[in-house]
């Protein structure tokens, strides 16, 4: 079986080739970045100090990793136990997401080894960025601790694992507090520059916009990722995960619909309070409406229909549109509507190498996710550590035939 030809055949899959190229290019650009400086690889200028490494890797990365705190909060704080099987994948994604955000920042900042300076050398507490940094730093630790039980189960360390599992509620609450703060603070970063951001995107509610949209993004990412994992890691999933999958899908879809509707209305309130309606007739106004109608109102509507008709396929589409919408929003705030008074010739457009690094980082994330999800108990419960919270009525001691008669339909709970 292990002849050379056999090896060649198994290694040279299209997937591996593409991944290989991405990693090679990424390594090449990395070397350039640390020998030629940011000027060697990016199109950043003094007018555009932040490019897609901030817009995509930081702003989108953090928003899309919000699934971790929303899922664990839904399950452990809001008592929606049937989301239990979705918690671990979401925590893993969030942990990897945040790790990659921090990894990506090492490319972007001028002196990466000084990234801990704000906490250990000199703190600028008047800076919103300080709050963002501190919360992200602490939350990364929380996520790591939340993820560690998977690794410990894999390695078979029972005692430390049980200690951590007992701290679940405290960790979850700490995570929600930290997430609330830094998700909103990412929006607050731009509060200091009212003269640079187009009035349609600038609002004193920016922190609230970022927070609420991050919840929608997090829920949609869980849905989107669930689909992908379902497709590629199906054999790693246990009965509980699979049987709860539909309930999770429609539960999250309903949540996302509500959050998007709320988001839509607070955006409208924002325009009304600042009396910015007249801007809607300009080019930027059209672009703003495109974002608001096409990527907030539309997915909210699709989610609502999908839940009503129990259409899992439509949920997926709504999730994809929501995720794209969040990316569009973060790009709009940080690049398109930023420096809107600058002549078009001086506006920023990323170089191919900046894009290559972002693609490289996402690819690394996917590979690590796949490695962990195939090795560790993420989509299934480790047989030695089974503690799946049963559905109400699904009592183990109850006689077999009664259980099924009494078990309420998962969806009937929410109505």
């Amino acid at each position: 079986m292990s002849t050379a030809a056999e090896m060649k055949k198994t290694w040279l899959t299209p997937f591996n080739i593409i991944v290989g190229i991405i990693l090679l290019v990424g390594g090449f650009v990395t070397i350039l970045r640390f020998t030629k400086g940011l000027a060697g690889v990016t199109n950043l200028t003094d007018n555009y100090p932040w490019g897609i490494w901030i817009s995509f890797d930081l702003l989108c990365g953090v928003a899309l990793a919000a699934g971790g705190f929303t899922t664990s909060a839904a399950c452990y704080v809001f008592g929606l136990k049937r989301f239990h099987s979705a918690v671990r994948p979401a925590i893993l994604t969030a942990f990897l997401g945040y790790s990659l955000v921090v990894f990506a920042l090492h490319y972007d900042v001028g002196r990466p080894w000084r990234l801990p300076y704000p906490f250990f050398v000199q703190s600028g507490t008047t800076s919103v960025l300080f709050e963002v940094g501190l919360c992200v730093f602490l939350y990364l630790i929380v996520l790591f601790v939340e993820w560690v039980p998977s690794a410990l189960e894999w390695l078979g360390f029972k005692k430390p694992r049980n200690v951590i599992v007992r701290m679940t509620l405290a960790l979850t609450i700490f995570g929600v507090v930290l997430s609330t703060m830094h998700q909103s603070s990412l929006g607050a970063l731009y509060l200091i520059a009212p003269s640079k951001l187009h009035p349609l995107w600038y609002s004193m509610f920016l922190p609230l916009f970022f927070f609420v949209s991050a919840i929608a993004a997090g829920l949609s990412m869980v849905l989107f990722e669930g689909t992908l994992s379902h497709h590629y890691l199906h054999d790693k999933m246990d009965k509980v995960y699979l049987s709860e999958h539909d309930g999770v899908t429609f539960g999250f879809a309903k949540g996302a619909a509500v959050v998007l509707v709320v988001y839509f209305f607070i955006k409208i309130v924002g325009i009304t309070l600042d009396n910015n309606w007249h801007y809607l007739l300009t080019g930027y106004g059209a672009w703003f409406l495109f974002e608001l109608l096409g990527f907030v109102a539309l997915p909210a509507f699709l989610y609502a229909i999908a839940v009503r008709e129990r259409n899992a396929c439509l949920v997926r589409w709504a999730a994809v549109i929501t995720v794209l919408g969040i990316i569009l929003n973060r790009f709009n705030v940080s690049l398109v509507a930023f420096n809107w008074q600058l002549p078009p010739a001086q506006k920023y457009f990323p170089s191919w190498m900046e894009i290559a690094i972002s693609v490289f980082i996402v690819t690394v994330g996917l590979l690590v996710f796949r490695f962990i999800a195939t090795k560790m108990p993420i989509f299934y419960e480790h047989p030695d550590f089974k503690e799946h919270v049963p559905h109400e009525g699904e009592e183990e001691e109850a006689p077999e035939f009664v259980e099924h008669e009494l078990k309420p339909h998962p969806q009937s709970l929410g109505h």
Partner: protein, 351 residues
């Protein structure tokens, strides 16, 4: 249950935001600037666009020589901004309505009274000195460039070409040279041939500006740019043409930069304290609800089990009874048959 849960989450977020609103209103009070701090007054009606100030700045700060020499005035054909090799630039503005000819304006750090750059830096790399200058400390800067995002005048610049030790570059009002006694006035001021630049205490500069307004009626607009803009700056401008026509934004308002973020920052302690309490409360409610429903469930299960068992017992009893009856009937049938047989045999024997 789920819908309620999400709404309560959102409601809480909204409440936190509203609290932030009121916190902002109660934010830091206006800072009038350090008394006796120094600044520079630029007079656009005097500037002749000779670029000597650029040369002076370049020399006293030891900056690299530019590609075009400082006496090459053709560089003025293009609008320029400060960059990491140039702390100050002079721009020419043509075709301004009401102006006899081109008007020049020098640009550099405005040395804000409450600098956006200083408030935005997460390692406090900037210092607003009591003497007026805003300086920057290379030993702590991480190179995040948030100060560049924050500065409303687009002043801080970055050495993008430096792989590992890029610096933020901006005008220091020659503060290092002045404190060490190497200079008495900033390099640009000392180089200006026509006194378009005056260095002095900010309060005196404001008086000088007003004095010129009075001495030359009709020559100036009655506005000192920088007196209140963005909370006030140590660098001041007077001009005969609208400031927006010489590249100074008139829509910046008088709110200082730190005030834009103070509201959001004031919410932090509120979230940090109120949020966990709220979440624990929500958790407790759900646990209570779960416990009740759990008890109800257990009860229901027990009842159902009992009922099922009862039913089963009844069924069994009935089946037993039925079987009994069947058996009885069968026996009776058999007995009857036997009797009949016997009777039949009897009659045959009788024959």
């Amino acid at each position: 249950m789920k819908r309620r849960a999400f709404l309560s989450l959102l409601g809480a977020g909204g409440a936190a935001c509203l609290l932030g609103q009121s916190a902002q209103a109660a934010g830091p009070k206006e800072f009038p600037g350090y008394p006796g701090s120094f600044g520079v007054l630029f007079d656009a009606t005097r500037c002749i666009g000779c670029r000597r100030c650029e040369a002076g700045c370049n020399q006293v700060n030891g900056l690299p020589a530019p590609p075009e020499p400082f006496d090459d005035l053709s560089v003025l054909d293009k609008q320029r901004r400060t960059n990491a090799k140039t702390y100050t630039i002079v721009n020419r503005y043509d075709n301004i309505p009401g102006a006899a000819g081109p008007v020049f304006r020098k640009n550099q750090c405005q040395h804000c009274l409450e600098p956006a750059c200083a408030s935005s830096c997460f390692v406090r790399a900037f210092t607003k000195t009591p003497q007026g200058a805003v300086t920057w400390d290379a030993s702590v800067c991480v190179g995040c460039r948030y100060c560049m995002i924050a500065c409303p005048f687009d002043i801080p610049t970055f050495e993008y070409w430096e792989p590992l030790s890029p610096r933020i570059m901006k005008c220091t009002m020659c503060w290092p040279q002045i404190t060490t006694g190497k200079l008495t006035v900033p390099g640009c001021v000392g180089a200006c041939p026509v006194e378009a630049l005056v260095y002095g205490k900010r309060a005196d500069l404001l008086r000088i500006a007003r004095g010129r307004f009075a001495a030359f009626p009709g020559r100036y607009l009655d506005h000192i740019y920088g007196e209140h803009e963005m909370g006030g700056t140590n660098w001041l401008y007077i001009s005969g043409v609208p400031f927006k026509d010489i590249g100074l934004r008139e829509d910046l308002g008088t709110t200082s930069a730190p005030q834009y973020t103070s509201g959001a920052l004031a919410v932090v302690p509120i979230i940090a304290t109120a949020w966990p309490a709220l979440l624990v409360g929500i958790y407790a409610i759900h646990r209570r609800m779960d416990k009740v429903s759990h008890e109800e469930q257990v009860q229901a299960v027990t009842q159902a089990v009992a009922k099922a068992q009862e039913e089963a017992a009844a069924k069994l009893a009935k089946a037993k009874a039925d079987a009994e009856a069947d058996k009885k009937a069968a026996i009776e049938r058999e007995v009857k048959k036997a009797l009949e047989e016997a009777a039949k045999g009897q009659t045959e024997e009788d024959k």
